[in-house]
Symmetry: C2
Subunit: 143 residues, 2 copies
Amino acid sequence: MISNSSKYAIKAVLFLAIHSNEENKIMVKDIAEPINVPQAYIAKLLQELAKRKLISSTRGPKGGFYLSSEDKERNVMDIISVIDGEKKINSCLLSLERCNSSNPCPIHHLANQSRIVLIENLKQNSINELALDVKNGKSKLPL
Amino acid sequence: MISNSSKYAIKAVLFLAIHSNEENKIMVKDIAEPINVPQAYIAKLLQELAKRKLISSTRGPKGGFYLSSEDKERNVMDIISVIDGEKKINSCLLSLERCNSSNPCPIHHLANQSRIVLIENLKQNSINELALDVKNGKSKLPL
DNA sequence: TCTAAAATATGATTTAAATCATATTTAAGA
DNA sequence: TCTTAAATATGATTTAAATCATATTTTAGA
Ligand code: FES
Ligand code: FES
């Protein structure tokens, strides 16, 4: 439903939200370790996120990744959409085909509402808001 | 979150609920095709479900798989638990470690409630009830 | 303008899940 | 009791996701 890659990407973006800004960029090697994701792997994900404009980056010495103020207004679903694609999280729990309320599978009505709520919630808070929660001790960035 | 194997297993069990009973057993080859799952693959899953007592089977000529009346009182979460294991569906969306409301990750509060609701819903209806929905045209068994 | 430090692009390798294959065991019926 | 049809047990192969490796491009600063 949500890939490992998406989870890693979310962790990395939140880490950047907490520790970086326009004037304080962070290199992959300084991101990989604290979030406990292999460096080469998170590098690839960060590159993809940068290409898709969810995070910002500059090359060369003093370069690195960071979140611009617009980047911080993104939400978690934006990240999942870029890494996994829209359709994956919306696919039918049984068929992998089109999930459709007018032609539902036997467990559609058991699963559909909670999925809608989940997706809605993942769009509700900005990266910035989630980062503030961590700063305020209301949540933790796990390994 | 829910593996392909679990999805296949759920489809197979629902198929058995609709088409089989103590006097009318069904062979793997007659299950595989209608639910559109490779025969050797669904065979393995059915064997596991039978070993774990979620479905019934008899060997030899006139043998096959079927659901006893007790089997039909099981629910979808029972199947997921047997195929994927309990912990998988309950793991943290970010860390893969213990998901814990008193030490939550940044998206715990975005995801936890809907997951609880999903799991509760998947336990709510018996296989028999879900099969009746299909028989009554209220839902469809997809490919 | 050179050098070094960073991201980027691209592709190879590994691993776990999915899929396939087959020898063994059980039970019905002749 | 023999034969045959079924599930069962076990393991091999394939595939997609995860992970690793490296040559190229860009840019800051000497
Ligand atoms: S049709 Fe299966 S979850 Fe919607
Ligand atoms: S701690 Fe991450 S989902 Fe609960």
